[in-house]
Symmetry: D2
Subunit: 416 residues, 4 copies
């Protein structure tokens, strides 16, 4: 069984741990540990808000969620012999919530899904859902249920939302240039177009404290996925998956975090998924010079594991790239997926769900979101598939009409 | 076994058949046949170009493909008692190529995938692939192979690319208004932003010929999916699928066509999929008033069948919403899927495929295209999954480096 | 599309067809057609009783079923160049009921499952079910339902129950010797231990009529599976399957028949499965000398196809090798499977099924029957798995107790 | 996260633990703990030989395996309110090897598969394999590999081999009667027909020591599965499975053990599976009076979980009920499965495996063993399916002939 090379104490804050992680991308953050090709090891991961979200029936914590502090990453872990141009093989041997603990920290037997308020980051459907909502999920084995979203239980598709290698200085500069240029097109937008470097809340691991101001001022925020992998939020990076990351710095410097107990394609509620802390068991190896050999230079490639939850029946909804207001957009797959998700929400409300309950469900359940048609001008066609077996009742359309659930207390809400 | 209510003679043109279909959407096109709720029936379908594409080694026919004539639809089929506001249940009992025929018409034991030239419609990656290409696929049972794309064979995920109910006059007017407004923003664009009504090549079934000019001048083109379903190109509408369409006119007036032997999510090469003619066995039923009861008013919903080809290992590629030129776009899932597909193409070329072979493969193989992350500003993350078992060789990365295929004659090309 | 080299006219008896098949195994039955390695071809198959079983509500025809005449096989088909010692590759490209026909012959849109009376062959649970019963199944696309077994519908796992190569004279002699020896241990048993050669009802294809007496007197009955494959009744020999048969005579001389629309592991009702006539599309090839190269000399090996119906939830029952009377047997997996099936039947009767309805269901539904434990002396443990999705109601145990179906008219019964 | 109510210290023997389990079935063994309906809890389990088998390259320990001491069970656990006639619901929330430990005890990062010598219990193919063999498997996440069986790696189908409720006195008496009667038919057989009570090595938990002699003399051995579940060795009792056990005594008194990292249908090598110690997380509930309500009185029924390893391609072998010596047996499914397994072994040896390596592979890999035909007199047809993806090489037959592995050191052997 792999040795834990990054243990976390659930009773202490992220910054008070024996080994300090980081919440920004920068090549100068030194490795917190070094492993060899072929090594297996365990890493604990803190939930992305470091305990700010509580297991209660209020969404005030979601409304006030400290976005500047995320993500609390474990790492970097250097791999001996890794050089720029290599491919780093990462096998996800296991991943799960915090073992054998109950308590107030997400991952201690429970997790949460949030809808962010528009003024605090928003989400995929923020125009329709401008306020903050929260759902708490209880874990029982690999199954999650919620007092805030009744009538469903799903088998967790557990995965790290964020994993990646350190950028080189040149790559970091490229990120800052292009994202800065985007922000500059509408710098006051709410929510913003992108997140610029921010030094005040930066945590930079073992970097000399005297450098935190300079490095924090240029280090990349961890929200978006980029060439190094990063916050890809790919629900399929589950147990048994092999990922191949490009290496940009000596040692590769792998970091990871943002564990999810379950998530649908898109992580559409933003603080979507079922967020939690926990552990990941990894094994690393190298393909020397693999970036050029396999043409992999800008993004991770991966082979998903073979123990994902199996569902064999799905109810699916489609959407096209016409806005809710009726405006025709040109092959906008982002819009067509929004419309597909809204169609699913409309449908679920007929069974008694509040719209925000349906939205929280789509963010956390193992839904499939597919780019079904991307060439039939002017309409993209996106589709979203919900496994029917996650419902306690028959969710299929019939002449008998929809079953009516008891929506219970509903999902807690907080408005600005 | 269901009666064939729309037989087609493979030796005759679409317009010379005993029963005439149509290639435009309009409420005034009269039903070609009427069925009852609960009825099962067979419908033959012509391949979408009505035989213009040949089983040969030239792409000239793809370059000259007659886009104004598509799609050659079977129908409309009226359902007794269907009224606006109902949901039309359509069970796809079976679907396949033209039974027991060999010959020059796509569907007679073979099909084709095309990459359209930019000047003739283009496709998902038209900037990278401005010329026309073609691949011919031979069918053996439910398996397709191609002399133009060696080293792969896939089990067909056979489905109708296009199926839908007739629009009401009001709905049609809405389409023309919104698509016209889009076209007006850049009327001379190549390829165009959308396709306006076009009367000259319109085929309008049993409508009185004296009306063809007027109706053809306002009837909607069949390329895009819309509220009535239509050309959704959803690969999962396979055998055993139940679809629920909104009903907009008395009788529902269902039409269908554009059969595909196989297709990946997105149908990315435009004349993607493996195009063919063939048959579909359907059973229809009604949920009276179902549009309101289930909140389904703008798009089809569906429950996919349970006999799709099973693959258990996939190699996956991700992409973000940064252009090839390095520009950062804001949560553009269309772009991120393009980048994921380009990453897959780059990878496959390392095994000896020409880029256009890899592109044709992605358009026709049962790939999964997922909207993995849609909220992590500013980068969407899209992912594309290719089943490893479709390759005759080991397509996974390893220290040994990529196997080298014999690319054979390659995919025929035609330039403007 | 493959040429039909063995067409059958549904309106004529098996013996009145243009090409005559056979119902016994013997090396001297001449090939009815010859194909080349690599060839694809279609073969029509007659249902195993040649139309004796009717689509009605009486089981008299099952009680009187003419067992001496089975199976009405299509073939033999010789493969050019095949020699003893080769492996014959048979790809099942497609298989289905009689295309586009409705009528009185099983396979024309319907099929049947029968429980044989003890005095006419019996079945797996003949001690508990000594009388004859019948269930008629209607096909709708790939789905079967029955007026005699309400509350279930299943997607067909369509396959040929019987396929095999011709025995050599030596192999045939071995069969006759060993089966004769078994019969001799209890020659008057009802049902019999095995079936000796029987010349009167033998049909021997194109063999000179003058030889039918001699050859029929030594030709093997087709009921059991043997070294040549034969009546294996393996439900997984479905579309897309590749089978490898040992070759015992020049030309291999492949024959096939006994098509099933669906069947559970064991085909437990004997005239189990959903019996029908139909077609099979095959492609053949050879591995020269493959019997020795791969150590395959006594039985077929195979790679099942990848389009079998997918179910993801099952309810399972176990049984051990203790008789109903309480006697302990030593590792008797046949008995433990009987007990598992009886447990499943007991369970289903609690939902309102008659025992014979439950038995007919188990024989025809795509159940899994597994040898779970074969070493834990003295009890074997066999298990049977029923997909829960085949039921219209929730078949799982709960505190609410079992749902009660309307058993309808029940399954027709006939007693001796 | 569930509380551990039966912790085991890996450095101490089973009999030296804080809480003492048992290795016999008897109603008088008192509960070691009591839980409530709805409770979740963790239970540690000792590997079945309590550490007698070593992680080395000798099979002497297998030859000398102390069969009289097995199985070292955890429990009994009483459930409040459980009464005879109820059904006990047991949800397997999680199951795995000993967390985060490396060491000399099976389950500490490794496990073993053994072939027992005929004189020490034998196994399914003991006539062909009369000597003792061993294979050690190393765990990496959910994947197992072996230095003794090269060329394969499989994803663990982790499950408890043994779980069951306590028998009533009447049920125990029935067991002793019927098994004693069987033994009496051939009391000196090697291996024996069944295992009679044996007091000397009995461990009886918290039962007063003064009673151990009497109770041990009548308590049932744990090797066979029986009406209470017990040593069913059903590979599908994996994570997420819900089992329903009949209740025979107040409190139900559930016990469990014999964890397996992986196993094929049949556990054919006897000490088959990959044996290990570890943990199980359970949740229990009751269906009052459920035995009668659902007709479940003699065996467990269950609904398998949905996270089993997924494989989509299998190579399959068939066997009939003819002995290796050529004798025809009547519908003997046990024999036909033996023959199917021997055919698989013959095949694998052509790739360079020693027969015992192939046998060990079949015992431990997630193979499917099916009762394909049980009515076609006189031959049963059993089939065994091996997932092709577990092999590092292409295991399918082809004209190129079999790949040749390096068999390595081979499997350690020990002869009497």
């Amino acid at each position: 069984m792999p040795e834990n090379i990054f243990p976390l104490d659930s009773s202490k804050k992220f910054t008070e741990q024996e080994k300090l992680g980081h919440n920004r991308w920068h090549p100068e953050i030194p490795p917190v540990a070094t492993v060899k090709p072929g090594d297996s090891f365990r890493v604990d991961c803190r939930e992305w808000f470091d305990g700010a979200i509580k297991n209660d029936d209020s969404a005030q914590d979601i409304l006030d969620a400290p976005l500047l502090t995320v993500h609390t990453l474990s790492g970097p872990f250097a791999v001996e012999g890794a050089k720029p141009g290599d491919l780093l093989i990462v096998d996800i041997l296991d991943v799960g919530p915090i073992p054998q603990e109950e308590g107030p920290l997400a991952g201690q037997g429970w997790g949460y899904t949030g809808i962010f308020a528009t003024r605090n980051g928003g989400g995929f459907l923020t125009e329709q859902f401008p306020d903050a909502y929260k759902a708490i999920w209880d874990f029982s084995g690999q199954v999650a249920t919620s007092r805030h979203v009744p009538g469903v239980s799903y088998t967790g598709l557990i995965h790290p939302g964020l994993m990646g290698t350190a950028p080189s200085a040149a790559l970091l500069a490229k990120w800052n240039q292009r994202e800065g240029a985007l922000i500059a097109t509408d710098p006051d937008r709410v929510p913003p177009l992108a997140l610029p470097p921010e030094a005040e809340h930066a945590i930079l691991g073992g970097l000399d404290r005297g450098e935190w101001g300079r490095v924090g001022g240029e280090a990349a925020r961890t929200a978006p996925p980029r060439e190094n992998g990063g916050n890809q939020d790919i629900k399929n990076l589950s147990k048994g998956t092999r990922v191949f990351y490009p290496v940009f710095v000596d040692g590769a410097n792998l970091s990871l975090g943002d564990l999810h107990f379950s998530q649908g394609d898109g992580e559409i509620t933003f603080c979507g998924a079922i967020e939690m802390g926990g552990f990941v068991d990894l094994r690393v190896d190298l393909i020397k010079g693999g970036m050029d050999t396999y043409g992999v230079s800008e993004n991770a490639i991966f082979i998903p594991g073979n123990v994902d939850p199996q569902y064999s029946e799905w109810i699916a909804f489609s959407g096209t790239s016409v806005t809710l207001g009726g405006e025709q957009r040109y092959l906008d797959s982002h819009l067509s997926y929004q419309r597909a998700c809204l169609h699913a929400i409309d449908y679920l409300t007929k069974f008694g769900y509040a719209p925000e309950q349906a939205y929280l469900l789509l963010g956390s359940a193992p839904i499939e979101g597919r780019l079904s048609g991307v060439v039939d001008i002017p309409n993209s066609c996106s589709t979203v598939y919900i496994p029917t077996a996650i419902f306690d009742f028959d969710v299929r359309p019939s002449a008998a009409g929809p079953y009516q659930i008891d929506p219970g207390m509903g999902a807690p809400k907080a408005s600005a």
